[in-house]
């Protein structure tokens, strides 16, 4: 019995269900923490619709995390198909962090203000420029062939990669979603530019996956079926990464633009 999915080179894939206890425990822990946070704050100032949306966001985040890390996608992505690995990245490193931050009412972040050092640290760490660099460095490092081939064959290494994705994603979305610390200078237009830049940026792993003449990851190159042509799968993974990120960022742009327009229309007109 395994607790986290990991690459098992040379092992043939079979459709026999495998329990991944660590994934279930992580989902239970996240749910427990979420319920505990909600029970400690008063979010009645938010509309019923908004509260429902937040709970739906949390449920969707947990579903995405569970579906992408548990069997069969977890082992398939860890050991056999780079394209599935990239779908996992989109779920764990991009979509789920945004949904988890959106799932918390603004009141849940207010206690952070009572800790000046923490607020200062968050202010630096989640400054849009820092967040941009941290996210892209984490993303590049966790897709670097040497790092992937080194970490993926162990459960701990595979967990570290997933955790790094999640942390990188939380830092990336923090300045866009979380109201603490306040960033009055980070206007909606700046937020849209931040997302657009990340959508169009050509990162080294993407370039390697698409343009390399040979497979760059040993674990996927030497994986038995269902892997077939490792190079095609790698190129598909590059396309999934690029198109997936672009669509998620585009969705973010639409939401920010909509909120911006609503805010502008609510503002009283000056004489």
């Amino acid at each position: 019995m395994n607790w986290w999915c990991f690459a098992q080179p040379g092992t043939a894939w079979n459709w026999q269900w495998q329990p991944l206890i660590g994934v279930w425990l992580a989902m239970l822990l996240l749910t427990w923490v979420y319920q505990r946070v909600l029970s400690r704050i008063d979010d009645s100032y938010e509309s019923s619709r908004l509260r429902k949306s937040r709970r739906a966001a949390f449920s969707l985040a947990i579903f995405l995390l569970w579906a992408s890390l548990d069997w069969p996608l977890g082992p398939l992505g860890a050991s056999y198909l780079a394209s599935v690995h990239m779908v996992q990245f989109l779920a764990v490193g991009i979509a789920a962090p945004a949904l988890l931050l959106l799932a918390l009412p603004t009141a849940a972040y207010e206690p952070l203000r009572r800790h000046p050092r923490l607020t200062k640290a968050l202010s630096d760490l989640t400054h849009p420029v820092s967040a941009f660099f941290i996210f892209n460095i984490v993303m590049t490092a966790t897709h670097w062939p040497g790092v992937v081939d080194l970490l993926m064959p162990t459960q701990l290494g595979s967990f570290v990669l997933d955790a790094a994705w999640m942390l990188g994603g939380l830092i990336f979305w923090w300045p866009l979603i979380v109201p603490v610390p306040e960033r009055p200078g980070f206007h909606s237009l700046g937020k849209i530019a931040y997302l657009a830049l990340n959508a169009f940026l050509i990162r080294p792993p993407f370039a390697m996956m698409i343009f390399s003449a040979s497979p760059i990851y040993a674990i996927y190159e030497l994986a038995p079926p269902p892997a077939r042509d490792a190079l095609n799968d790698q190129q598909l993974a590059g396309a999934v990464m690029k198109i997936g990120i672009a669509w998620i960022m585009f969705a973010g742009v639409l939401v920010i633009f909509r909120n911006w327009m609503l805010l502008e229309s609510d503002r009283p007109e000056s004489a």
């Binding site: 080179p9 040379g10 092992t11 043939a12 003449a213 040979s214 497979p215 040993a218 190159e221 030497l222 994986a223 038995p224 079926p225 892997a227 077939r228 042509d229 490792a230 190079l231």
Partner: protein, 169 residues
């Protein structure tokens, strides 16, 4: 390998049903010889997929001077049609050979490789055939100087094959 291994004296049948003398037919070519079976769940498909990818990347003059030969260690299930279809899915130039397991075992022993071992399937599943996981690269002179174990990557093959051709010319 410290001592080069000569190409075994092995006459088998190709997928057209014609006799195929390994030494005579591959004389003057760089020959990559692998012993496996088409129902293999792990090593064989990986080797064949890797070599297929390598073939597409090689210069035409290198490709034309090479033969990839897959010798079935499971002649009962690997019918000529099955062998042709399976290999063709990887690369149309890959050649499939089949014959008596005794003859194949004798050739494997000649090359100091482990023989074919049949492990009966459990709970009605198909048997698993034990076979060497290495690919032997026989130079143009008929001697194998390199044995490629499972795990050799495409980039290494692409680097090595032109060198092997040059070495054994």
């Amino acid at each position: 390998m410290e001592v080069p291994i000569p190409k075994p004296d092995l006459v088998l049948t190709d997928t057209e049903g014609e006799l195929y003398d390994l030494r005579a037919e591959t004389d003057g070519y760089l020959s990559l010889v692998f012993f496996g079976y088409t129902n293999c769940p792990d090593v064989c498909p990986v080797h064949m997929a890797t070599l297929a990818g390598v073939f597409d990347e090689l210069a035409p003059e290198v490709r034309d001077a090479m033969k990839v030969i897959f010798v079935s260690t499971d002649p009962e299930r690997d019918t000529p049609d099955r062998l042709r279809q399976w290999l063709g899915a990887y690369h149309p130039s890959f050649l499939g050979l089949r014959g008596e397991v005794e003859a194949i075992n004798a050739a494997l022993a000649e090359m100091k490789l482990p023989g074919v071992a049949v492990v009966p399937g459990q709970h009605g599943s198909e048997p698993i055939i034990g076979h060497p996981s290495a690919v032997l690269a026989f130079g143009r002179d008929g001697l194998a100087r390199v044995r490629y174990p499972f795990g050799v990557r495409r980039a290494d093959w692409i680097n090595d094959l032109p060198l092997l051709l040059g070495e054994s010319s």
